[in-house]
Subunit: 953 residues, 2 copies
């Protein structure tokens, strides 16, 4: 026997036939209505046509599934029976709304039709039944208008125009003032227009109306604007929309009627107040349309205390039920309250923290308030106790905070006070939103100008085709960075992210003319010193100066992060190259430095830059050593500053990594300057630069390969690190240096360099007479290092997975070039090969497998090996959770992502505990009762969870 699929689910009137909360079947709105019905809240009766029906419709050339019409007719009959009214009835007609509702909110993207069931007969019935002809004709007018445009596709503008002309003729300003007669005439005009346009009369049969309305909602799922919205928002998991058909209730039936929207807490501040706006004697669309100024919800308490108390009880019930702050819609008709919608409420980042912390620590209502609502009969007994206790646990609070909540907490934003159209006018173009936050300043086109202008105290936006390490000074000085090329992990993006500095990259529209000191953006010329405002969160570039708002984390942020720190197993380090970065990171909660890149230090001043360049162009060992001797004191001083800032926390210093040509002069002028400083002919310098040019620098002469070729570089750097550590120790400071060798591909290679490192370090320590412990480890960033991790683990004291490079090599993707095709790969509407950009979130199936195998192999031979990750993925929550699952000791990320990593690490631990609890419960359930006590003892100890949920065999 084939079980026929059910497509329609009823709700309301205290009965529910849907799976409460199943958004996948019922959509968000339908699920909320079913859920509210289930917990006894007053919901107007109705039914939901499921998402699978819509999916069928689109899969079968706009046909309804067999039996759907029959199901709807049956549900409609039931609704008529429940309400005691009939659709299209000449006396007291039933009116229904027909609304869309996908599993996720797509605000304004899809259609609704209200007052369905109105026709030439029922309008009279409604007028009679309500004793309000104006109301009845207004309802008919609204239905005619909505149905004609939405279900039939007639021109919205023409109908609006007819309404406008009517008001002109009647000499009134607002719809409200139109009389029943006016509206009846307008209905006539609308029907005439319908006939003119379609060649038939406006459908009077309510069933025909209903079928048309359901199809209109189905069709709106694939309307251009909805498709575009889903593409832009990268929504791919939705299959269609549900259709909710519900008895109409009216907030515009007099002063004992009204409608409103509210939040169970203040969505801006998170404060524990009942927050909302409402209108007396109005319909929902009037609130949204802003035709009348709404009043504060609390004023309802004065006006209609019973309704207000009822609502307060609903607020408590729903927040307790969902354990989350809710966004509600309600209407009361002639003194009777109806709930029309509930969903999780959006909130500001600050509110997110305050709500989570207060939900976990304080009751929603005082005992007195709760008791009063109970006594009034509004709060059922089963909610009484709960209403005066915290709504959620601390773990739930921790899990509730998202990456975006933290990001948006710290980055400046464009003032929300700026009007939307002003923003639209100022917008010049869009690029890739590499680092969120906003910035505003004067445009400069090179790093030197950025530094000069910033030194005068001006805010600067640095605009470049692309950035390179020598731009770092100017990037540091700028408030925001804008580049024509590159992706989210290009040089500009990575460096800027490290500083939490607003950055937009890959902005193709820029046509930069460095010589002229200007650029054009979509034809508009922007000159040096003109103002630009960047919104790094969206990637939008605005002309001129827009007001910004500075971040200020609330107290609850610190409370919640403390909870998170208490929950996590994974430690969180930071990537920091300067004492300032280090201090900032400690402030953000970093427990060490996981990646200190020494090469950025070479660009800090002109002298250093010249010294490193001199080292590279040197053609004898002696000349190279002379240049390195100049660099040594700079590096040593930098390390002293960093060690001081970290105060004994581990500091992992990576030896020189980039290919040497990155440090060399690019232009004739720069070469001449270097020539003057070093006495080496300009031609020789340019020749050396040319000679160092590589076809694929990413796979070239870089990382520890440089130290194989030039051991003297390693020696200088180790000397600087260890001498700095010794100096700090000598004056009583604490220091834990870890020397990290990059780009290892073989254990022998690492052994050779580790031996050299120890030879230099031990000699210095011995001479100093100070006791100093230090570690020597390596990055695992080539696939070969991961594959041979067991051999390498015999040499290394720690591993740090460099997943940026590991991703590049494992996937054969240059992050500087992937912008040409990777977006298509990640676009769910194009090739849809990857769900997320593998440079943003670790590719767990591919790169992650290498990481997993490497860790297992390495721990086999060296169980105590310290293992971490550095690079972009260390600040991505999903990747952090992966790191937790595969058993790393720490993650390292840029200072501004440290809180995100701390939170994700705690969430990972909580998820692990929950999985474990479920497992135990399953074991308990499967244990026969009589053997329980014995069974308990025999049960195997809780086994560590399989490392990665998505891990493969």
């Amino acid at each position: 026997m084939i079980t026929k699929q059910k497509y329609v689910y009823s709700f309301g009137s205290g009965k529910v036939a849907g799976q409460g909360g199943d958004k996948k079947t019922l959509g968000g709105k339908g699920a909320g209505l079913a859920e509210m019905t289930g917990i006894g809240l007053p919901v107007p009766a109705g039914f939901t046509i499921s998402v699978p029906a819509c999916e069928y419709y689109w899969g079968r050339d706009k046909k309804w599934p067999a039996g759907l019409a029959e199901e709807i007719r049956r549900q409609l009959a039931q609704l008529e029976k429940t309400s005691g009214k009939k659709l299209g009835d000449a006396k007291d007609p039933l009116l229904v709304s027909v609304r869309s509702g996908a599993a996720r909110s797509m605000p304004g993207m899809m259609e609704s039709i209200l007052n369905l069931g109105m026709n030439d007969r029922s309008v009279e019935g409604l007028a009679a039944a309500t004793g309000n002809p104006r109301f009845a004709w207004d309802a008919y007018r609204r239905f005619l208008q909505m149905y004609s445009t939405t279900a039939v596709g007639l021109s919205k503008e023409i109908l609006e125009e007819k309404l406008y002309h009517l008001k002109e003729r009647a000499g009134v300003r607002s719809d409200h003032e139109l009389s029943a007669e006016n509206l009846r005439a307008l209905c006539g005009e609308f029907k005439d227009f319908f006939r003119e346009q379609t060649g038939r009369d406006f459908p009077q049969d309510p069933w025909e109306q209903l079928v048309g309305a359901v199809n209109a909602v189905f069709n709106s799922w694939n309307a251009d604007k909805a498709v575009t919205y889903r593409r832009v928002e990268k929504i791919t998991d939705l299959k269609g929309t549900a259709v909710n058909i519900q008895q109409m209730v009216f907030g515009n039936m007099g002063d004992d009627s009204g409608t409103g929207v509210c939040f169970t807490r203040d969505p801006s501040t998170g404060e524990n107040i009942f927050y909302g706006d409402m209108l007396i004697n109005a319909q929902g669309e009037d609130v949204v349309a802003g035709i009348r100024t709404p009043i504060k919800l609390t004023e309802l308490g004065d006006h209609m205390p019973a309704i207000y108390d009822q609502l307060c009880a609903v607020r408590a019930i729903l927040e307790i039920h969902y354990g989350e702050m809710q966004d509600l819609e309600f209407t009361f008709e002639r003194g009777k309250l109806y709930m029309l919608q509930c969903r999780t409420g959006k909130r500001t980042p600050a509110a997110a923290f305050r709500i989570a912390v207060e939900q976990a620590t304080q009751p929603l209502l005082t005992k007195t308030a709760a008791r009063r609502l109970f006594k009034a009969g509004y709060l059922p007994k089963r909610y009484l106790d709960a209403a005066s206790k915290p709504v959620i646990s601390r773990d739930q609070a921790i899990r509730r905070i998202t990456q975006e909540d933290i990001e948006r907490l710290f980055y400046p934003i464009i003032s929300p006070n700026i009007a939307r159209d002003e923003l639209a006018r100022a917008k010049l173009t869009e690029g890739i939103n590499a680092v969120p936050g906003a910035a505003c300043g004067q445009v400069v086109f090179n790093a030197a100008d950025a530094e000069a202008l910033a030194a005068k105290g001006e805010a600067v936006i640095l605009v470049r085709k692309e950035t390179s390490p020598e731009d770092v000074g100017g990037m540091q000085a700028a408030m925001g960075i804008l580049t024509q090329t590159g992706g989210k992990t290009s040089h500009a993006a990575v460096v800027a992210r490290g500083w939490g500095k607003c950055c937009i990259v890959g902005c193709d529209d820029l046509k930069i003319d460095y010589n002229a000191g200007q650029m054009t953006i979509r034809g508009q010329v922007v000159r040096a010193n003109d103002y630009l405002t960047l919104d790094g969160s969206s990637g939008t570039v605005y002309g001129g100066r827009l007001e910004l708002q500075a971040p200020q984390p609330p107290q609850e942020y610190f409370t919640l992060m403390k909870w998170a720190d208490g929950r996590r197993r994974l430690r969180v380090h930071t990537n920091a190259d300067t004492p300032e970065d280090a201090r900032k990171a400690v402030e953000m909660g970093a427990e060490g430095i996981g990646l200190c890149r020494t090469e950025h230090m070479f660009f800090a001043t002109r002298e250093r830059q010249l010294a490193i360049q001199e080292m590279i162009v040197a053609d004898t060992l002696e000349a190279r050593k002379r240049a390195l001797d100049k660099l040594l004191p700079y590096q040593r001083d930098d390390f002293i500053g960093i060690f001081d800032a970290m105060d004994g926390r581990p500091v992992t210093v990576r030896l020189i990594d980039p290919p040497l040509h990155e440090f060399l002069p690019k232009s004739q002028e720069q070469a001449e300057e270097l020539s003057q400083a070093t006495g080496i002919p300009t031609a020789a310098i340019l020749q050396r630069a040319e000679q160092l040019h590589e076809a694929n620098p990413m796979l070239g002469h870089r990382g520890c390969r440089l130290c194989i070729t030039y051991p003297e570089i390693l020696e200088m750097q180790v000397r600087a690190i260890i001498e700095a550590a010794v100096a700090v120790k000598k004056r009583g400071g604490k220091v834990s240096p870890e020397i990290m060798i990059p780009l290892t591909i073989d254990a022998k290679e690492l052994k050779l360099l580790t031996d050299r490192t120890r030879a230099v370090a031990d000699e210095i320590i011995k001479r100093s007479g100070v006791k100093l412990d230090y570690l020597v480890g390596t990055m695992i960033e080539t696939p070969r290092a991961a594959i041979t991790a067991d051999d390498i683990a015999e040499v290394a004291q720690f591993f740090s997975f460099g997943t940026n490079d590991l991703t590049q090599m494992t996937m054969g993707l240059s992050r500087d070039d992937a912008g040409r095709f990777l977006p298509d790969y990640c676009n769910p509407n194009k090739a849809a090969i990857f769900a997320v950009d593998p440079f943003t979130s670790l590719d767990q199936d591919g790169v992650g497998m290498l990481v997993l195998v490497a860790i297992e192999q390495a721990r086999d031979v060296n169980p105590k090996l310290k293992i971490g990750i550095c690079g972009e993925h260390g600040g991505d929550p999903e990747s952090v959770k992966f790191c937790h699952l595969v058993g790393m000791n720490y993650v390292s990320c840029s200072p501004y992502r440290v809180p995100i990593a701390r939170l994700a690490a705690a969430q990972a631990m909580i998820e692990e505990d929950e999985d474990e609890a479920q497992r135990r419960a399953a074991v308990r359930a499967a244990t026969p009762k009589r053997r329980t006590s014995a069974g308990k003892k025999k049960a195997a100890p809780a086994k560590k969870k399989a490392p990665a949920r998505r891990a493969r065999k």
Copy 2:
């Protein structure tokens, strides 16, 4: 109890105390002497001081191990007892030679001292005992000279000068003519000189002499020339030299004495004759010094038939014993034969094949000859039968041939008739020996000139800084290719290797001035149209025209390759892009095309090049399709030609792989030409080229990523392949096309492209009405593809491992750039991280592990998946053996390496069988006798050997 280590092993006089043949302990010479003693050949008695003694000496600051002196004294006493003579004896003194002998021959690199034991007393004793004072004083003179220079370090030149002056004074021309008196005087002069220089008398104590001589040999191990030799020859497995102390025998004791060197077969032709040179009444060094003209060995048969027959028997005994052609040294003293050395003889490639085949098919001696030698008492009975049977099995013959034997068989060489000093004068510089063989022709500096000059019938050498795909025509036209940059797997090297065309790359000394049409090499100017000769085998560049010799494989080559083909499991395909290559490859034994690169076809003519360029600069889909339509017929015709040439053998066609910018004009002129042809402005063309520029093209927009972005390219190529196949089938031909998608990183990506491929192909086949089978598969060349091979195996019909790129990505090594540091990594005397260049021989520990894991995973889900390898490693014997062990179905390599792969595949099979036989023998040995028959049945079936010998857990 500690067992004292033994350092000295005796040999000779029919007794042997050494482990016969243990070269590691005894060195090559010592092992041969012990071995010959063991099988009863006449070897002058003596003993060998082992290699570990030398190792100890160098490890402990030039100290002898405890007990060594004692051991030597004991052995010396034994030697004196055996010979009945005493060192330094005044009557009939014992004389010994002290010779070095490492495990591998290092010709001329280390020292020997002869006639040790001579002193003022024993010289008289020797004169008396031999009745030949001249001989005695000459022996003393020689010893004084050798000992003074070798053991004490006095000037060779001054001593030679004294000898020269003596001859002047005596009025004679050669040493031979000096009288006993002359020589006695010279000995006095030598001793005086010794005293002057050292302040002490020449040591008269034979023990002191012996210690000095042993130390001299030890010291010569680390003399500059020996160290340099080992560095140049990349010898790293040797720990030191042995020292052989042996009773002197003299070939210069009259006409019944003599000395010679011989080979058991002709080392030039491989002919089964006894081949050698000798001198009557001379010492070994006289043969080497070339003072007198030697006579042919066969003449000895006339002069001294007994000695000759004895030698003939020795020849048979040693070749049978070793199963290999031997290189021998002998001396006969007063009618008694002594063997002084035996080792495996070097031979020409043609001889290598003839020897191997004849050893496996024919007896060394006729039955008559063997019986004659037996009857004469020279050939022991146990060798009688063996001497008239083949010496080795066919399997042994197959295993004996090396990659170099085959390579050298096919490449032209510089004529061996050219005198060494002429060569030295012609030599300009050296580069990296990318493709062996020699070439001679006129220099041109660009591809167009190469084609033009070659069209006139001239031989051309193409010289470029580096080559790119657009040079391919010129490269094809040239006899040899010389580039300034690049390594063994650079574009020039890979393309040239495909054609077996002489190529030298990475020749830093070239300073090319394209504009002037000339270059300088170490200061010497070479102009266009000057002649150069390249020796690609050594990487040497010669000025001028040197005579070349063409290759001509002997019949035995074909015989042996047939045997190999009968033995192998692995199939051998080829990489070929044109019908000519395909035909050549079939001639070389290819069983299919494993890699047909379609992009080279785009450069075959100017029209094609313009069409592909037009396609790339097109800015609309229509324009792109128009350009592709032009390419379609060209590609289709190419495929028809290739299918015809392969006559039904599988042809694997790879879809477009390189990044598009490789096809675009590089210069203003080329852009202008394209502009004229297409009507697209030059500036737009150059801008497009600029826009396509990539930071790391290896990891950029290439491979199947191009077909994701531009599906129309895939469609055109699939159309060309399938239409060609259909055309061939229609006229009754056979064809097995396989379409290969490159650079896959994910199963979804491959699925998408496979579906597109099949859609196009099936439509064409359906329309044609022809039945055509084809496969769609992928290259596994990114680490991610290897890691996710199980998913990919569900989509692909075959895998081809692209180990060039897989090596680049797994190791993070750009083959175009690695020339800067990889040589240090592979140099045993520098970083010594890799034993071989991973681009030459597959890195089995790293890349090989990915291959192994991928195959295991893939076969789990798709046991019948066809798996092969294409790329440079497919022609490297060690890599081919790896491919066999991991269970691949085929390897594919360039046409000229096909025989090498066929041979290696057979060798791999033979090795596997031998391992299996050993395993069975071990099982049998471990099975108790009474259970033998039952045990046999129960024994588990022979399990497949663990895939890779070097594979890791």
